[in-house]
């Protein structure tokens, strides 16, 4: 099997290195990096804005380009996090903690260099894991029937909802809202028009791009207009500043390896987003460090570990996305949606039927990460300049790109209106402190969940026990239940602790008052 895998991989490199594909991969990395660097633009908005560009391409270059956009924008986000303390992509929130203090110390270039090194190392490890784990997973996946598919999607949805940031109840609510949005359109089984509010344009589902750009583009602008004031740091970064010294590489090496391991371990779990992974990697590093007090003041390990964790996590995340068709987070959901638009159904068949896409993608990850490194060394000066583009010029231009991008998807003005509606909905939800990313996850999985649920229950003649009778399916159901019970447990414990703390502080307060009164009377 190993020989077969290596042969396939070689084939993949062959596909990825075709000049045509290589060009699109390069273009994706470049433009993803460019957009990711812009303040306020994260990986999600970058991918959804550029998604329409890939419609005209064939499937292989399209997906290679999208992957390039993804890691390009991810790296671009790290630049903003380290140099300006702007976490545009949530996983970079942790990087800010130590990256920005390093910039203040004049070591921003080193931090970027270490970030690049860690991400390349972590991505390489993640790719290796992907190469060896995917065929195994596919073998299991071929045994999956509708009941298993439903339960594993349920697990993905529950995990994505409860483990995202914010309260788990809100996360589940948003996931369910996504499922509901996924229902809009024609029912495949009966042809009934559902939730189309009289618009014929809605009979063919809500547009993925319109939804994503509404939630992550327009909603963001509504939240940030007149509130985002970026003071350019006015620094100059050259090629030389990027090169970390030998001692610094040594210092960052083990944190990088540990971060990679944390990321890989979490990568297999569907629904755990990269944000949690980075937090865990950071906390772990701080715990075992000899100088925990240095964290938050520009410690190199605090940059290397979370960046490595986030990159290996996203790389490994591609395994469930590609081999089971179950995305781990919103970014993966977008990529999955893009594949569906190209007429490719991710799942165990993908690897056997579209071997060129799967292995080409894996090979292109490696090549793309290499391009990213080569690209960033000479271009870092330009990225620093881009960071200072004022928000007041950026968001009107981005709005235009969003509008035209959505229009070009189907040459339909109606979908621009959809974007506006979802933008308003997203802004309201964000204002009410909901995290909107699970909506996208629910939306992409929605039709698949419904289809498989209906099929499984139909096959079992209306009995819901089918989901616990089949062993694989029962495991997934058990895992979902465990997740919910655990969350409930932590929630109740948190409440208990909060109540006890309040009681304690009240008692202390009363004692203090009593003592204060005592001294006064004395």
């Amino acid at each position: 099997m190993l020989a077969q895998t290596l042969h396939d991989l070689l084939q993949g490199f062959h596909v990825a290195l075709e000049p045509h594909n290589l060009m699109w991969s390069f273009f994706g990395v470049l433009i993803g990096n460019l957009i990711g660097v812009l303040p306020g633009m994260g990986a999600l908005s970058a991918i959804s804005m550029l998604l329409p560009l890939t419609y005209t391409l064939k499937a292989v270059p399209a997906i290679l380009m999208l992957a390039g956009i993804f890691y390009g924008s991810q790296y671009g986000g790290a630049i903003g996090a380290i140099l300006l303390n702007l976490p545009c992509h949530p996983p970079h929130a942790v990087t800010c903690l130590d990256g920005y203090p390093m910039t203040l110390k004049g070591k921003g270039g080193t931090a970027l260099g270490i970030t690049m090194m860690s991400s390349f190392f972590a991505a390489s490890v993640g790719i290796l894991v992907m190469i060896f784990a995917s065929p195994l997973l596919v073998e299991i996946a071929f045994k999956f029937g509708p009941a298993e598919l439903f339960s594993i999607m349920l697990l993905g949805l529950v995990a994505g909802g409860t483990m995202s940031k914010g309260s788990p109840v809100k996360g589940i609510a948003m996931t369910a809202l996504g499922l509901l949005i996924g229902v809009v359109g024609t029912d495949v089984n009966t042809g009934t028009q559902r939730f189309n509010f009289g618009f014929a344009e809605l009979s063919d589902q809500v547009q993925l791009v319109a939804l994503a750009l509404g939630l992550f583009g327009v909603a963001d602008f509504l939240c940030n207009v007149n509130r985002m004031h970026i003071i350019g740091s006015g620094m100059k970064l050259g090629l030389r500043d990027m090169r970390p010294s030998m001692a610094e590489i040594k210092e960052a090496f083990w944190p990088m390896v540990r971060g990679t391991l944390v990321g890989t371990a979490f990568g297999g779990m569907p629904g755990t987003g990269p944000t949690i992974t980075t937090f865990i990697a950071y906390a772990f590093e701080k715990k075992i460090s000899k100088h925990p007090e240095r964290f938050g003041h520009g410690e190199l390990a605090g940059v290397a570990a979370p960046e490595a964790a986030s990159h290996s996590k996203t790389q490994v995340d591609f395994i469930p996305t590609m081999s089971l068709g179950i995305p781990g987070d919103a970014v993966m959901a977008l990529l999955l949606g893009a594949l569906l638009i190209q007429g490719i159904q991710p799942g165990p068949q993908l690897i056997s039927e579209h071997a060129d896409i799967f292995w080409g993608l894996i090979a292109s990850f490696w090549i793309g990460n290499l391009i990213l490194m080569l690209l960033n060394v000479p271009l870092i000066g330009i990225w620093v300049k881009l960071l200072q583009v004022p928000y007041r010029f950026m968001f009107p231009s981005a709005l235009f790109f969003i509008a035209v991008g959505v229009y070009s998807t189907n040459n339909s003005i109606f979908e621009v209106g959809e974007t506006l509606v979802f933008g308003l909905l997203g802004a309201v939800l964000v204002a009410l402190r909901f995290s909107v990313a699970p909506i996208l996850l629910g939306y992409v999985l929605g039709p698949l969940v419904e289809e498989n649920f209906r099929r499984a229950v139909l096959l079992s003649r209306g009995s819901l026990t089918v989901f616990v009778q089949r062993p694989i399916s029962a495991c997934f159901v058990a895992a979902s239940t465990a997740l919910i019970v655990l969350q409930l447990f932590f929630w109740l414990r948190g409440k208990h602790i909060a109540r006890r703390d309040r009681a304690v502080s009240r008692m202390q307060h009363q004692e203090g008052e009593a003592a204060g009164g005592g001294t006064q009377s004395a």
Partner: protein, 160 residues
């Protein structure tokens, strides 16, 4: 980190936003259930097109109830007060509406100009001249990238 994601919250600072969040979800969930009943529901043996929407709608409504109940328990004071940004909000919404309308009746270039110009006016620091120049530049980009480069099917100018 505070510059990262400032949220519009000021205008409902006095009330508890979880009440509103819960209420909104209950509303969405119940409407979905109501509309789902309009399609055929069927039973587990023969699920109709309404079955799944009703199920999902009930989950949403249930979560809404949970959130609204939970709102009572935490009473910590919210972070800093942020004034509502009516000018920015109205301009952004208007600019997209303008793109819709003008794009339909007037073509790509006027629509591009409208969306960039109107949304740029939403930012208090933008001057009319600055917004004008930015919009003109974007029109050029629209023509170069989308019409010449990507051959987008969108007439440059039309009348009605």
């Amino acid at each position: 980190m505070e510059t990262g994601s400032p949220r519009p919250r000021g205008f409902m600072n006095r009330f508890h936003r979880d009440y509103y969040g819960g209420a909104l979800l209950i509303f969405i969930g119940l409407s979905a259930v109501y509309m789902g009943f309009g399609y055929h529901i069927g039973d587990l043996r023969h699920m109709g097109p309404g079955y799944f929407p009703v199920a999902v709608g009930s989950i949403i409504a249930a979560m809404g109830v949970l959130i609204a109940i939970g709102a009572r328990s935490h009473k910590e004071i919210d972070d800093e007060y942020l004034a509502p940004e009516w000018r920015g909000w109205i301009c952004i919404v208007l600019s997209i509406v303008a793109f819709l309308v003008i794009g339909h009746w007037g073509g790509l270039i006027p629509a591009t100009f409208a969306i960039v110009f109107i949304s740029a006016m939403g930012d208090k620091q933008n001057t009319v001249k600055g917004a004008f120049l930015l919009s003109a530049a974007m029109c050029l980009v629209a023509w170069l990238v989308f019409v010449l480069g990507l051959q987008l099917q969108f007439p440059l100018f039309t009348w009605g």
